[in-house]
Symmetry: C2
Subunit: 341 residues, 2 copies
DNA sequence: CCGCCCAATGAAAACCTTTACATAAGTCGA
DNA sequence: TCGACTTATGTAAAGGTTTTCATTGGGCGG
């Protein structure tokens, strides 16, 4: 425990102190069974005395592995992000990997900059939270040029990329069926941003449910943008019409919160006058009045699965890719009731 | 653009193609002015042809710098986290650094595990979002043994650690004065978790304001825990008393949301019957009813400052440490009004 | 007692850069 | 024309591991 505030100890220092070669020290650490008991003890003593920690950069260089994973996200502030990240981080940590954050803000240049982490070897693999293939070029290039990647939360179509996300279609169907079971006949789907894959998937589930109705129900979709302001705007536009829905199924909780706010402002009571269902179960869904009935996305689980898939892939580069869709539960709170008369 | 799906190109490949030495290639990249125009062109052509990207691990090893910063957080899900991280990430990226996330969950063992990133050289510096010195030992050890670190969001007392956070005391004072200016005489402070430094700082600001009152006002503090449930519980306890406050100043927005919820459940109107002020201005503060009046923490700015301080420190290891407190604005929404009668 | 095999260890190469130092070819002033 | 500088480039060391291959010595079957 001598305090040498000098340079950190290297494997050579340890070797010298233990009177063995550096190769033996290396082995004593990584494959203890390969070295004699007595030697191992000497080495461990020397390690303790020097306070030696293997230099990760040298290890990385030699092993050609950085043990880092790059997580590319469009927005760190997305309410789903922390939960997913928690899951990602948890298994990465457990398996000796570090998690590197890349916030792209939708900026392609930034995205490209981050991808250089991969070609430079700073990161071994990629978790895509962006919902799209990383920039140009990739799709055309040969399979092998694509770094190991897994898409999480939003599916991505590519032969060489696994994905894990919520089974939006099934979940949306469940949500819609719930409204139908309460007796609602006019249910509107408040969509997400134009062209958003998740919004399309949820729309399908909504349609699935409608198509099973005993008496025909018509598909009714209005635009939103995934924000609460978008939800408000959607409601405003609705009031120009002569007929109103009795229930709203919203692309996400943010939208639902906007919808509820706008309805309340108009003097409608939720759920007495109108029912609203969201999607995500963001932390605040339970904190608004009324408590929001919504679909819970298994965020942390999505993260865990995605990281597991990626790390497995790194260990087994030729393993086949797969798409995994996790079940999303309906969380019933108090934003829905039977339709008024 | 020949597609060699083989190994990535090394500096040697480039050198061979450009018919120069690897040293020249290295210089052509990092100090272009040191190499003749003609050579530079040849090198650049060769780089383009090979698709060369310098191997970061080799660079790191040689330069003894990983260009990574470890961000240690107690909980990724804290509503303040994304904003701070955004700021951190932004300047790190701009200055060529990567951001590594470590989620400790308050687990000391995990924290220690992450700190090994520093001793192993995986990260050059540390951003502390945990509010405390990293685990045991450090405080006693000599200055130089502490890796470059900056505390963000929660101040940390250590000679060798800079910190940047909101000026809680001043902000809390402003919030309290605002309530006083509306005419409130009985203002209660709903505290955060026991022993929380930030809660203490905000309490001080609250006291500062009270002590300036024209007619003496008494300090009234009740316990909370920083969650909305804690806020609810605090209100419940209050109702056992015979006298009630007319306004609540809460440790944070979560608490405030709980307080408002509990008051509403009891049949009180906010702000007509009771006023409530929060702290943080989390994204949902504007989405609840009534819109929450609160102090906005300059989250992103805190992150930017903290990262700047850390990176400056890495470049200038002997620069003095400093504590920086940023101004927090009062955001007036609709959770406050003049006291009844 | 001999040869074979195994276990334990060491020497050295490889991983890929950056950079201090050496060298070669000019430039320029005297 | 020569030496002193300058500029452009090359050589080789250094950075700290891991791992292959070679070496040594001992155990053991024949």
């Amino acid at each position: 425990m001598h305090n040498h505030p000098k340079k950190p100890a290297t494997i050579e220092d340890v070797a010298r102190l233990a009177e063995v070669s550096i190769a033996t020290v290396s082995r004593a650490i990584s494959k203890p069974e390969k070295v004699a008991e007595s030697t191992r003890k000497k080495v461990n003593a020397a390690i303790a005395r020097t306070g030696y920690t293997a230099n990760a950069m040298a290890q990385n260089l030699r092993r050609q592995r950085s043990h880092m994973v790059l997580v590319l996200a469009e927005s760190i502030s997305d309410p789903n992000f922390p939960g997913i990240l928690t899951g990602l981080e948890k298994v990465a940590n457990a398996r000796g990997y570090g998690v590197l954050i890349g916030n792209t803000d939708g900026d392609v240049a930034l995205e490209e900059k981050y991808l250089r982490f991969l070609s430079a070897g700073t990161a071994d693999g990629l978790i895509l939270l962006t919902g799209h293939l990383p920039v140009a070029g990739w799709p055309e290039q040969s399979k092998t040029l694509i770094p190991p990647a897994v898409a999480a939360a939003t599916p991505v179509q590519h032969d060489n990329i696994s994905y894990v996300c919520t089974d939006d279609r099934a979940a949306a169907r469940i949500a819609t069926e719930y409204l139908m079971s309460l007796g609602h006949k006019r249910i509107v789907y408040v969509a997400g941003p134009k062209g958003n894959v998740l919004s399309e998937r949820r729309l399908q589930g909504y349609c699935d449910a409608l198509s099973q109705a005993s008496e025909p129900m018509s598909i009714w979709k209005i635009d939103g943008d995934g924000t609460s302001l978008g939800g408000r705007a959607a409601v405003e536009r609705l009031f120009i019409r002569d007929t109103l829905p009795t229930a709203f199924f919203c692309f996400n909780d943010n939208t639902a919160i906007g919808v509820i706010g706008a309805l309340q402002d108009r003097g409608y009571d939720v759920p007495d006058d109108m029912s609203v269902v969201g999607f995500d179960d963001i932390p605040f869904a339970s904190n608004i009045t009324p408590g929001l009935t919504t679909i819970r996305q298994p965020r942390s689980q999505i993260g865990e699965y995605a990281m597991t898939a990626l790390l497995d892939r790194l260990a087994q580069p030729n393993a086949p890719t797969e798409g995994k869709e996790l079940h999303g539960d309906l969380i019933v709170r108090s934003s829905c009731s039977v339709p008024k008369a």
